[in-house]
Each structure stands twice: as structure tokens, then as C-alpha cells.
Amino acid sequence: MDLGSALWNGLAVFLTLCIFSILYKDNPFYKLAEHLVVGISAGYFAIILYYNGFLPKVWVPVVKEGKFYYLIPTILGIMMWTRFSRKWSWVSRYPIAAYMGIGMGLAIPLTMYAFILTQLSATMQPVGFANAKLINNLLVAVWVLCGLIYFFFSKEHTGAFGWAAKIGIWTLMVGFGAGFGVTVMGRVSILIERFEFLVNYAKALIG
């Protein structure tokens, strides 16, 4: 390892330890790393947005290629800056409205597809008691129905309906327990990667 990369990697090791120090308690080292990363990331993303957003989407189309309809979103974007004035800040509603409208319009069919129709068709499977697959299909269908009943808002959860809702929330809890259980492995993997980074640096320094 040459001196330059030893120093830069040393900085990375130091900052890694700074963040780990929060596990004990809040301290000046954590505060340092926290404030540093907030500043650095804001600056970094502003620059990246300039090169990947402003230059190819505003500067090049309008100035170089003469596609003047790109001025419309540019003007909408500049309208955001009326937020700096108390008197004119209502103008910023225009771009916000456009942004939200497009977002909602995109979301409606895609949500219908991914969240409802796909799930619906995947659950409609033959059921029965003849083999494990059919029984499992039946269980999935029943539990999905109970889960949906839990999400009924306009009917009191009492009687048989209440029991179905109860089975529904139990099913959700099994899902949450499973979700938690499988995630532990992934999170530990990331910690292993960090520890290996520290160990490798120490090894490289010692030679």
C-alpha cells in the first residue's frame, strides 16, 4: 500500500470507527462523522444532479439542440424558486401540482397491476385435500381472505367477521416474524463486510 492510499483508507477506517462509536453513546466523533456526511452527500448529489440532470436535460436540449419545449419544465423548475419569496411562494404550487399529477398518473395503473391483479391471479389456484400442494393453495387462499378482512374499515370486527380478522392479523404476524428472521442474515453479512475492511486495513499496515 502506498502512502496516499494508506492515508485515504486510514481516513475511511477512522470514519467507520466514528460511526461505530454511536453504539456506546453519542460523542464528538459520531457528531463529526454525522455532520460531515450530511454536508458531503448534499454537495455530491447536487453536483451529480447538475451533470446528469441539468446538463443533458436542460442545457443540451435547449441551448445546443434548440428543443424549446424543454423550456416548459425548466420554467416549472424555476417556479420552485418562488419559495424564497413570501409573497410569491404560491407560484410554486404549479410545479408541485405537475410533479404530483404525473406521479399519481403513473402510479394508478402500475399499482393496479403490481399490487392487485398480479396478487389476485397468483392466489387463484386449484385447491383440495388430495396432496400437499392443493392443501397449501387452500391455506394461502383462506389466509389471504382473512388478511383482507382485517383491512376492512367500515365494519366492526365482531362475531365471525371478528374471528376472521383475528386470523388475518395472526397471518400478518407470521409474515412479519418471517420477514424479520430472513433479514438478520443480510444485515450480519453487511457487518461482516465492514469488519473485513477494518481487518484487511490493519493487515496491510502491518504488512
Binding site: P126, L138, L148, G177
Partner: protein
Amino acid sequence: MRSNLHLKSLIFFILIFLFWESSSFAQEDLSQTWFNPHRANMLIFLIFFFAVIIYFIERAKKGKSLFIRRIAGLDAIEEAVGRATEMGKPVLFISGIEDVDQIQTVAAMIILGNVAKMVAGYDTPLLVPICQPFVVPVAEERVKEGYASAGKPEAYNRDNVRYISSEQFAYAAGVNGIMLRERPAANLMFGSFYAESLVMAETGFSTGAIQVAGTANIHQLPFFVVACDYTVIGEELFATSAYLSKEPKLLGSLKGSDLTKALIMGILALGVVLETLGITHFTRWFYIE
């Protein structure tokens, strides 16, 4: 205003039906047609859903009262805010890490306004750290409006709505800093969260705050359920946002959602029965190309 809504719904449906009607001209080269016939099933579903929602909103506006069940997380918000104001400590509101074109963020913003209204009467700050720049103006407006509608516009402090960072973990680091140093007594987390959810919820727990969280991101729900005092699960997030505003017309949409849910359950049951009998046409109809 009402006729305005009618007019808009009318335009909306006319547009959709226009495309629907013209679908009979469907040809093989899709780029020349007015309608993609492979997606007709979804359109029918959407039209039904929209019609039901608008019907119930109209009915609610006429004053028909609707029953809505209790949502535990909802009461918890009031309890948490109440305790924070009693202690004279700040309330922290985190609206997730996604932008304002995401529906969950909008739902979070609606909740934020109502929280601001609750907090306004007391001398406690409402801290709103923000992850996406576009959310900043919306959050500012919501907080300002909440304070104004509680009759305390002067209590609004612009510095409490602050942008931190657009990057997930830089944002989480900044939020942790706020939790550790400004010691809010209530942490409300609503919106779209990812892996940072547990980083914030555990830090919040270690500071002793009451925590209420809600998200529709299925993978993060387990962590909120485990680390927070109350969790608003999935669809309850949208119901909460409708419920908090206490406007009948917004509640009407909940009834509409429920009816559609019942329809979906019926379809599901029917589909399962038909599949078992070996009839697959029905299920096939729900595939989308």
C-alpha cells in the same frame, strides 16, 4: 365547488370511455390503435373502483354517516403528541425517504398537517427532517397551515422543517443526531421507508420516545412492529390520513375501498373454485400483458 367535482369526474370518465369505446378498432399493430385491448381487464377494474369511491364520497357529502372502525395507531398519535406536549419536549415527524410523487409521502404529508394542528396549541416545537428537496415546500405549507388552523400562525418556525440529505443513510445519520440531541418525546414515522427504518426506530427507542410508525412497504413493517409502540400497517396508513382530516368526503373513499375489497374477495373465492373445477378462463382474464 361541488359542480366542479362533478364536472371533473365527468371529464375523467368521458375520456376513459372514449378510449374504451374505440377499442373495437383494435388492430395488430398496437402503435396505431386507440386502445390496448390486453389491458381492458385493468381498465374495467379501475372504472368500477373509481365509480364506487366517487359514489360514496357523494353520499358522505349528503350527510349520511359512515361507521369507521377504530385504528389503534390513530389514537396512539394523539397520545404520543399529548405526552410530548405535557413534558414540554419536541415532537419529531419523519415522512419517509421518498419523493412527493409517491403516494405514501402524500399520505404522510396529510398526517403531518393534522399533527401540526395538535401541536400548535402548546409551546413545543414540531421537528420535520426531510430527505427529498421536493418535499420541503409541501411540508412547510402543511405545518404552516396546521398552525394557522389552530389559530397560532405565529408559532410556526421555518427552521424546524429542514432538509437533511437525499441519501438514505446520510439522512438516517442526521435524524439520529436530532433524536439524540434535541430529545423529542414523540417520534412519528409515516411514509415510505427502507432499510433505514430500524436505524431510526432503535435510536428513537434508546432516547425513550413514544414511537408511532406506519408504512406500506411490506419489507419494513416487521421492524416497525418490533421496535415501535404502535404500528399502522399497510392500508391503515391511507385510512389514517383520510380519518385524521375528519372530512366526510374523504372518509367516503374508505367505504368505497371496502366495497372493492369485498369484490376482490368474491373474485378470489370464485377463481379458486373455478380453478379447482378445471375452468381456467376466469383466472386467465386477470393476467396483464
